[in-house]
Amino acid sequence: MATLLIEIGCEELPAAACREAGTQLPELCRRALGVDPTQILITSRRLAVLVDDIPEQTPDQWMKGPPVEMRDKAAAGFAKRHGVEVEELEERDGALGVEISGRALAEVLPEQVDALLRSLSFSKTMRWDDSGIRFPRPVRWTLAMVDSKRVVGERSYGHRFTSGPVEIPEASAYLDALRAADVEPDPAERRRQIVEALDAVGEWTDPNRVLEEVVYLVEKPIVIDGRFDERYLQLPSRVIETTIQHHIRAFPLGANRFAFVANGGDPETVRAGVENVVEGRLEDASFTFERDVKVGIDGLAERLGSITFFAGGGTYADKTARLGKLVEALGGGEAALEAARLAKADQASELVREFPELEGHVGGEYAKLAGYPEAVSAAIDEQYLPDAADAPLPQTQTGRVLSAADKIDTLNVSFELGHRPTGSRDPYGLRRAAIGLDRLATEGNLSIPRALLEGEVTEFVEERFEGLLDAPVEYVRAARRASVRDLGGVARLAQALATLPDERFAPIHTAYTRASRLAEKEEGAASELDPALLVDQPEVAVAQALERVDPQIAAALDAGDFGAAVESAAELGPLLDTFFEDVLVLAEDSAVRANRLRLLLNVRDTLGRLGELSQIPR
C-alpha cells in the first residue's frame, strides 16, 4: 500500500471555484482511481488530493464479451478491441471475455491526473494558452507522487511571496512541507484559525457573509485589527459595515474597529495601509452622505420625477403616487402614507448610487435625520423585506403595509409590461416579490385584498402558496377559487380544508361534486330558481337551506371564520343526500327539470364559495 498525492497548481482561483472543486473532487477521485480520497486540500492556488493506503497496482478487470454462442460472429472484433487473440478469450458464465491485468499506479497516474483536470466542471472558465483546457484560472503546475516517487511534475510551490518552490520528500509529508512554506492547505483548518483569531480580537460580526470567501482568499491567514477615525461613525452603520465587508472583506468589531485577514506582510505595515484604505473609503462615503443630507429626504423626493422606475413603468415619482394609493387600499394610516411618499426618495441620493444594496436603509436613515417619526423611518428602512425566502418580515406594521404596496406595484407593472418570469430567468425578482407578499399575508397577518392584484398577477402570487403552505397543493388550488377577498384568506382556507376531519369534509365534498357534475353535464338549467316549481319535499328543503346558508358562508368567509363557513356548508350534506335519493333530477316535465338543474347549480355556487372542491381528490 502506498500514499498518493495529486496537486493541481493554479493562479489564484475564485472562492466559488474552490468550493465547486471541493464538492466534485471526492467523486472524481473515486471514478479515476477507484478509491476514496483521505483528504481534499484546497487553497486559492492549489487543488490537492491525498489518498492513504492505495494499492500500487490497479485491480485486474474482467472484460465481459459476447455470449459463447456468438463466438463466430463477435469474438474476433471483441478480441481485437482488447488487443488479444481470439484463442486467448476465456469463458465465464456463458460469456466470452478476457482478464485485463491491473497496471502499476505510477503508469496510469499521468492520464488519470489529466482526466481529473479535464473532468472538473466550473460555472465560469477561461482559456489562457492553446492547450485547449478550460479552467477558472490558468493551471501552472501539476504534481503527482506515489510515496516518494514523482510521477508527474517535480515540485510544489509555497506562499507566493515568503516562499518559493517546495520539494515534497514524500506524499505523506505534503501537509508538513506546505505548512513549513507558509501555506495552510486545509480549508477547515484555515477557517478554524481565522475564527479563533477573530474571537481573540473582539466581538466580530459578518453581516454580509464574507468569511467563506476569506477562507479561500488567503493561504496563511493573519488576522489584523484596525481602527478608523470616530468621525465616520456619523455614517449609517450599514454603510460602514458594507464598506468594510465589501471593499476589503473585513469584519466589523463594533464602533470604529474592524478585523482584516491578511495573507502575509508585516502586521504593523499592513494595519497602517488597511486603515488608510478604510478611511479613504469612508471619507468617500461621508462626502456623498453629507451632500445628500444637505438636500434632505424631502428634497430628494422632489427629484424622483426625473428617475425612471423601469422602462415603460414611469418614473419613481409615478411609482410614489401609486404606492400612496396602494397603501391607502391596504388600510395604512398616516405614518404609512408618509412613508410611502418618502419611500423611494433615496433612489435620488448619491449614497444609494454608491451602495445600491442599501436602498431603503439609506432612506430610513435620512428620514430619521429629518426628524420623521420612527414609524415612518422604520417603514422606509424595511420596505424591501423579506428580501429572501427565509429573510425576516418587516417588524413594524407600517413597514409591512409599505412592503406589500411596493411588491404589488412592482408585480402589477412588470406583468402589465409583459415581464413575466420564464424558466430560471427572473431579472426583476418577481418570484421573490410574490413569495414576500404571500408571507406578509400569512406570517405577517396583513390583510391584502386580492382585488389589488391585477390580471395574471393574482394567479402568479397565489401559485406561490403551493410551495409555502403545509397544505397539499390540491387544497391550495381549490381554495384559490374560493370567494375570499383576502390573500391570506386563501391560505387559511386551504389550511382549514386540509385539516378538516374527513367525516366533516366528506359530505360537503360529495354534495359539491355530485351537484356540479350533474348540473354541468346536463343542459337547459333555468336561469333563475322558481320556488313555485319546487314540488318534492327534499328539494324544497335544499332550497330553503340554501337561502339561509349562502349568506352565512359568505359572511363567515368575509370575517375569515373558516370554521363557521365549513360548519354552515356541512348542513347541506344530509339534505343533498336525501335529495339525490328521492328526487329525479331529470324529470319528464322540462320546466321542473330546468328548475332542479338550477337548484343544483346554486348548491355548487354556494359550496363553491369555499373553493373549487373538485380539485381535491378523494
Binding site: 489564484e12 477561461m126 506582510g265 508585516d266 425612471t308
Partner: protein, 281 residues
C-alpha cells in the same frame, strides 16, 4: 513612478506607446490594446503606455479626494500572456519599491466586462494592503469575437498606486513633483470639467454628434476603412458618456445607445479581423 514602469516593461520587450488622441473611458480602448489584441494575424504584441481616462460621470467638482472625471492609468498588454506573467507583474511592483514580503499583496477575483465593446475577460483586482492598485485581465472576447491568442492586460491605477506608495489619504495631496501636488495640477481642471460635464455640455449638440459619429463610422465601415471608423466609435461612445453625465438619457434610452455602440464595435471587429461575420478560426 511612471518612469520606473516604462523602464521595467521596456526591458521586458514592451513597445512603449503613447496615449491616444481622443477621449477614452479606459486604456483598453487605445488601439495599442484593442486593435492589436483583436488582430488574428498578429501573434505577438507587447506594449505599455500611460492613458489619461475620461469618465464624465465620475467627476466630483474637485471636492471628493477619490473621484475624478480625468485620471491616469498605466496600461500593459502582453500577447500572448506569458506563463510567468504574474511573476513579471509582481516584479513591476518591486521595481516601484514595494517590498512584497512586507505588504499584504493579493489577487482578488474581479472579472471584467465592457458592454459597449462586446468584450469580457477573467482576472483579478490586485490589493496592496487592501488598496486596489491594478486590474488584471485575461481577455477572452473582444467585439463579440473569441480571441485565438489570449493576452494578459494589466491596468495600474496610477493615483491609487501613488496613494499607496506615498502613504497619503487624498489624491489632491499626492506629490506630483517636488513641491507640486496633484491638486495643484488638476483640481481646477476637475472643477471646470465637472461643471461642463454635468451642467453645460450642450445636450442637443451631443445627441447630434452621437448620430453623426455613428453614421460616419457606418459609412467608413462600408468603405472598408476600419481604422478611421474605430475613432468614430470611440467618439460616439464619449458623446454617450457626456449625455449620461448630463442626465439626458433615461435608463432605457441608455441601453438603446449602448446597443448602438456595441453593434458598431461588433461590425468594426468583424471587418477588422477580415471575417465579415465569422470569428477567425
Amino acid at each position: 513612478m511612471i518612469g520606473a514602469l516604462q523602464d521595467y516593461w521596456a526591458n521586458r520587450g514592451a513597445v512603449i506607446m503613447q496615449p491616444y488622441h481622443t477621449e477614452l473611458g479606459a486604456g483598453t480602448s487605445n488601439p495599442a490594446t484593442f486593435l492589436r489584441v483583436l488582430d488574428p494575424t498578429l501573434k505577438e504584441w507587447r506594449a505599455a503606455y500611460v492613458e489619461p481616462v475620461i469618465r464624465p460621470t465620475d467627476g466630483r467638482y474637485g471636492e471628493n479626494p477619490f473621484r475624478f472625471q480625468h485620471y491616469f492609468q498605466y496600461q500593459v498588454i502582453l500577447k500572448p500572456a506569458p506563463d510567468d506573467v504574474l511573476d513579471q507583474y509582481f516584479g513591476s511592483l518591486e521595481a516601484l519599491g514595494i517590498d512584497l514580503r512586507k505588504h499584504d499583496v493579493r489577487l482578488v477575483e474581479d472579472d471584467w466586462e465592457q458592454a459597449t465593446l462586446g468584450a469580457w475577460g477573467l482576472g483579478w483586482e490586485v490589493w496592496c494592503d487592501g488598496m486596489e492598485v491594478t486590474q488584471f485581465t485575461y481577455f477572452q472576447q473582444l467585439g463579440g469575437i473569441d480571441l485565438e491568442v489570449i493576452p494578459a492586460e494589466m491596468t495600474y491605477g496610477l493615483e491609487r498606486l501613488a496613494l499607496f506608495l506615498q502613504g497619503k489619504q487624498s489624491v489632491f495631496d499626492l506629490e506630483w513633483a517636488p513641491g507640486v501636488s496633484w491638486g495643484d495640477v488638476y483640481r481646477e481642471n476637475e472643477r471646470q470639467w465637472s461643471r461642463y460635464n454635468y451642467e453645460e455640455a450642450p445636450v442637443d449638440v451631443l445627441q447630434r454628434r452621437f448620430d453623426e459619429h455613428e453614421a460616419e463610422a457606418g459609412e467608413l465601415l462600408d468603405k472598408g476603412l476600419p481604422l478611421p471608423a474605430y475613432d468614430q466609435v470611440l467618439k460616439s461612445s464619449h458623446a454617450l458618456n457626456l449625455l449620461d453625465a448630463r442626465g439626458a438619457v433615461s435608463v432605457t434610452e441608455r441601453a438603446a445607445y449602448i446597443g448602438r455602440v456595441r453593434k458598431l464595435a461588433r461590425r468594426f471587429a468583424q471587418l477588422y479581423v477580415g471575417a465579415d461575420g465569422n470569428a477567425p478560426d
